[in-house]
Amino acid sequence: MNLEDYRTIFIGASLVLMLIAASPGLGVVIPFFRGGERFSELWILGPAHTAEDYPFNVRIGEMEQVFVRIGNHMERSAYYVLYVKLRNQTQAAPSSKTSTPSPIIPLYAYRVFVADGETWETPLTFLFLEASHSGVLLNITKISINDVIFDNINYLSSWDSENLGFYYQLFFELWVYDYSVSDFRYRNPFVGIWLNMTA
């Protein structure tokens, strides 16, 4: 090895040592890349706390229960609003492609704060109390959600002759508070279950 080779080794070793010496300061100035993307999870579990036996055939006066769970992987505590909505087969669902929420007015809203890496869960009980039926139309006029009764409502559904039933989707939209824009944003996750109202 000639002197040039030794010099290259010296410079390389010095740079490595300098980087090691600078690492505490770099850790302060540049936050270390923690890996993975920031996201939130949202899922529904059935009454037995499992991903099965979801309510499907529902009747007036029968109470049903599901569990909703939110997982925070945003690398900081998050403030969520979870909207509970009900729609028929023709009303717009949230769009996954364009990340737009459903225009339907929510029935109920949960306001939740979840620490990073933690999950939050709540039971949701719902009960259809009143509905009017005329020909191929069914109109739900009274619903109870978590023992709060909502009357003077109108959720219409027409008879689905292919699948034989009046279908409704009970779905949940997750909105997260965005610190940078000082407002809530719909960040796409939504989950729902289809219900066949057999009246």
Binding site: L17, R76, Y79
Partner: protein, 169 residues
């Protein structure tokens, strides 16, 4: 109808009508108050959350504060449901409770954040100073080591005796 009878009917009618208008006015005031209490609670919660986030970034363990914010959030959810059901008294009570919790959390988070900043700044300055001193030390050390190495390298080179392998072609 005699003037006396007419006056009597008019008084009764005015009394009944006034009951209706007063009730309507009260209901409107309650609705407006409820809406304002809800809006206030929402803004207090957002403000408290922002302060909690800042405290978290300063290194504070915010799990206890989040539990209380969830409590306030639950009350806000119930207040919104009560508002939809036009139970404005319940709306105002729940929203005011929510605001109270939110304000307390905000104050506490702010206090914890300020407390955490002292040690955090010391830590940051210590790390930055240590890094700068370390870089300078390594730089000078390397330069000094290189000079010694180079001197020894030349000395060793000069001490080498040339060897003649063969004198004739």
């Amino acid at each position: 109808m005699s003037p006396l009878k007419f006056s009597f009917v008019l008084v009764i009618f005015s009394f009944l009508a006034s009951q209706f208008f007063v009730a309507a006015a009260f209901s409107q005031v309650s609705k407006d108050e409820a809406a304002s209490a809800l809006a206030n609670c929402e803004s207090v919660l957002v403000s408290a959350y922002r302060t909690v986030l800042e405290a978290e970034q300063a290194g504070v363990n915010v799990s206890g504060l989040l539990v209380r914010l969830n409590d306030a959030g639950e009350r806000l959810g119930k207040a919104e449901a009560a508002y939809r059901l036009e139970d404005f008294e319940a709306t105002i009570n729940l929203a005011n409770n929510c605001s109270e919790i939110g304000n307390t959390v905000k104050l506490e988070a702010d206090e914890l954040r300020l407390k955490a900043y002292g040690p955090r700044y010391t830590d940051v300055w210590f790390k930055l100073t240590a890094s700068i001193v370390g870089i300078v030390f390594v730089g000078f050390g390397s330069f000094w080591a290189w000079r010694i190495f180079k001197r020894r390298y030349y000395r060793r080179l000069l001490e080498m005796k040339p060897e003649v392998v063969s004198g004739e072609p």
